[in-house]
Amino acid sequence: MTQSAQTSRLNNRGLIDRSQLLDFTFDGVPYTGYAGDTLASALLANGVRLVGRSFKYHRPRGILTAGSEEPNALVELRSGARREPNTRATVAELFGGLEAKSQNRFPSLSLDLLAINGLVSPFLSAGFYYKTFMWPAAFWEKLYEPMIRRAAGLGRAAPEQDPDSYDKATAYCDVLVVGSGPSGLMAALSAARAGARVILADESFAFGGRLLSDARTVDGKSGADWVASVIAELKSFPGVKLMSRTTVFGAYDTGTFGAVERVADHVAIPAAGVPRQRLWRIVAKHSVIAQGAGERPIVFGNNDRPGVMLASAVRTYINRFGVAPGGTAVVFSNNDEAASTIQDLVSAGVTVAGLVDTRTSLPPAIKSLARKHGIRVFEGAVVADALGGSRVTGARIIASYGAPQTVACDLIAVSGGFNPNLQVTTHQGSRPQWRDDLAAFVPGALPKGMAVSGSAKGTYGLASCLKEGAQVGAAAAAAGGFVATAAAIPTADDEPAEVSAFWHVDSSKHKAFVDQQNDVTAADVRLAEREGFQSVEHLKRYTTLGMATDQGKTSNINGLAMLAALTGKTIPATGVTAARPPYTPVALGALAGEHRDKHFKPTRLTPSHDWAKERGAVFIETGLWLRAQYFPKPGETDWLTTVCREVSTVRNSVGVCDVSTLGKIEIHGTDAGKFLDRVYINMMSTLGVGKARYGMMLREDGIAMDDGTAARFADDHYFITTTTANAIKVLQHLEFCRQWHWPDLDVQIVPVSDQWAQYSVAGPRARDLLAKIVDAPFDISNAAFPYMAVAELTVLGGIKARLYRLSFSGEMAYEIGVPARHGDLLMRTLMSKGEEFGVTPYGTEALGVMRIEKGHVAGPELNGTTTCADLGLGKMASTKKDFVGRILSQRPGLADPNRPRVVGFKPVDKSARLRGGAHFIAKDAEPVAKNDLGFMTSVAFSPSLGHWVGLGFLAGAESRMGEILRAVDPVRNSDILVEVVSPVFYDGEGARLRV
């Protein structure tokens, strides 16, 4: 294939690197560009004007701007898993091999069948979602929505997972300067010279802002050369961090800024270990916002045709990129910047066929410039319509005098004045203020520590921007305690910048677009106003003006100025919608950073995790933990077989379960007992040293919060456990009680969850097994170490350990804790020494089965809505003391004896399976909500009993013992008969615990 020449590239002009020719494709056609190009400038260099189809009407669209405010030139970049939709060609940095595609066209860009949407546009006017597709409702899902989705929309997301990595980072500085135009550079320089830590961030890949785009001189140098000299000096300060390709997208409270750095967007594939993008949190003591100003278009007929371009963008393409964006231009303006545009066009060899200015009397300087170059001047005139279809072929000009005229051209350079880029200054709620002399909003009261400088503030002259930047930068450094003086001001001129407000041409014949990205026309704005949407906020939502990904950077002010004219109000009285972060779109990948897939959250591993893995455990995520769920033996293909074997082994011999995940907290101090009395419903101060007790904590509202055990090792030393899930919550609660409720108590709280590897050794042979590892002379006989005893001892020849005679399984059992580093050794030793008893490790599944067999409540029952009475633990609550939750647990609603209580259930047909979540209904009642008696919370197949058993909450539980109910689970189509029984299915007397 032949590569088209860069026919529109200008010789000897621009800041591109002509030594680096880069190949790229657009819609499959190969082109070339240079390093330093954006995709937009490279397309224009190759004469490509049509780059996309619009959102709603599928109108042909080109390139309107040269920056991040671009509403039209949205393309898909790359392919496969790296395909990225809705990327602005005007900021996409060109690289060798870049694949770009136009989007929202069918079947091709030049022939788009859905452009017929333009013909049915009466149905797609403002508010069409709310009106046209209202009835009948059934049509929405089947017809309207699929149709709209096909017809309207933007690019396609990649179907596969993003293969690139993203990173998050934090930076601190004394002065953050956002934007590296003349004002930003001087601010950074002044602050840096004072010794401040400075961050200078710019969204472009090159520093300099408009100094790269306009043919201006500073200190007798070209803008670009002066920028290079300043950057070189800034680099010499160790405290200065220069961040190009970095968009500061949001300002948050207390000097916190969000920024995204495009680390590797400008290469095909990021190098190994390099993230694609990095999300920065920048914490700045002071900030200088110098993000410049954005030119706004004038709204006229067919103003969206490829070839209509902002005048400042025209200058950027000529001066920075060395590209002539057209052959014959008409300049349509209401301000003095037209002079620079004409000069740049002429110098680039572009014919200027006319200057159309809305002002009735132009400054003499502009007139004489036009005369010098033989340019026709239309004063008090407008471009009413652009002519042409997929590209501009002319301009229909209407002056205040004479008949409309048509001037042939392929480029209309339009300028309606400038809007300061003040979005970031408003993110914390401050409102911009209107300035009539600028016909623009400027920043209002600023957040603490923030200053704004240069065009972003409405200071437009180059010399003024340089001076203001120097002063503001020095002031920011001085406010941070540095001795700072404004850097000497380089010599430069202030260009004339008079503007006469003009928003919209009334006399257009064709569709005139206010918001080009969302296809909102002038007619839509008029319609909305007629229908009563006269507040700027209503206008926005009804027409979707400003709600596209560009947040209306080129459309909001025009829209509200038009609304103001329609309602007869002033612009400031009409108001402006709030800008919210992000300033420009931020990829979700960048916001997620590294926290995705298995790094979505940290994983906690118990000390004997490696052993469990070797043993072939199947793991389950419980909160942040990875816990062994069950340990299949070779030949066991079904989890139930494995779990039943584990349970039977524990019930008949001995098993070991890793319970290291339990929350563990040391409670010390002379008031430790008193403190625990106030946080547990039962008495802990009366617990003897060397004993443990089950305990329950409530929330202050009377609902059960957590349960666990408290062990007392000394008068002033307790050790408590929490459930795995609530370890952090309970610690926070205890610290709250200690610090805020009872600050006078002598209590110290030390979390030690990670200190101890802890194992439950359970079963009739548990003592025999432990006897093999406990160091002499410790006596673990039932007499010396009975049920609920605790002790500190040593095991395996001197390892400090703690032994607790606790049982969750219902068997004679112990929990043994050793310092975490010994956990692996202890587990391996228990396994090898237990071989003679046929010891089995057991996981969370068998643990769950045995606790259900024993009727112990756990997470499914402590579900944040149940009281201790609901849980069958009402009698535990002490009446001799106050405790957290006592008062509110006595509220009538919570103390109601008819509240559902925990009971047990077994199937009438012993082979039937119980289902968690099934609802209980009286045997002959309809399964409807008003007959609901409660629901099943926990179920398990009991190998000990040979049938399913369940726990659940049942209203009027006491009087229903022995009753047969229906357990209805409509989700899984199960409806069986169950018998209401005691929740304790196994060893009701607890005889097995105490042997």
Binding site: A169, T170, A171, H595, P602, V750, V752, Q755, A820, R821
Partner: protein, 177 residues
């Protein structure tokens, strides 16, 4: 945890896991702060820091870990039980818990942080902001950590919960590359 040390070696970082330490949590008993300080001065020759600082004294590093709380980090010596000795020294004035196994301590031997480490820390880790002897209890990438810069400025120690230590080692490898 030797596996960790290997992982780190592979990435050729100047980070290592510190072993052979006893770490004791000391929390002042209510109203005993002043007397505790007297005893600490007698035993170690220094006051217990009242702000996020680490002080080195007689072979022990005393690290502030919250209001009226410290970690005392001591190198193991044959025949000595540091925890028992401290318990005796501070008897009645402080609650002591042996937390040697609660955390894994990694050391980066460097006089200042690398660019990478600087941007990966959530707090201001610049060498002029986080100075020798400074301590911070904070989190990085969802992982809680106590970090201190040795009083002589030669290294940074990161103490993270033991059950997160592999995750933390991953982070540290990336964050200090």
């Amino acid at each position: 945890m030797s596996e960790l040390a290997n992982d780190i070696k592979k990435a050729s970082l100047e980070a290592s896991e510190r072993t052979g330490l006893t770490v004791t949590h000391v929390a002042a008993r209510r109203g005993a702060r002043a007397s505790l300080d007297d005893v600490a001065r007698a035993a170690f020759g220094v006051s217990l820091p009242s702000s996020p600082k680490a002080v080195e004294a007689r072979g022990a590093l005393i690290v502030w870990t919250g209001p009226d709380q410290w970690l005392i980090v001591q190198k193991d010596e044959t025949g000595r039980d540091h925890y028992a000795e401290l318990a005796k020294t501070f008897n009645g004035l402080a609650s002591l818990v042996d937390v040697t196994d609660s955390r894994t301590i990694f050391r980066i031997a460097a006089s200042r942080p690398s660019e990478t480490l600087l941007r990966n820390m959530g707090i201001d880790f610049h060498e002029n902001s986080f100075q020798p002897g400074d301590v911070a209890i904070t989190h990085v990438s969802h992982l809680g950590v106590i970090v201190w810069r040795l009083p002589d400025g030669t290294a940074y120690d990161f103490a993270c919960a033991r059950t997160y230590s592999r995750e933390f080692a991953d982070w540290l490898r990336k964050a200090s590359a």
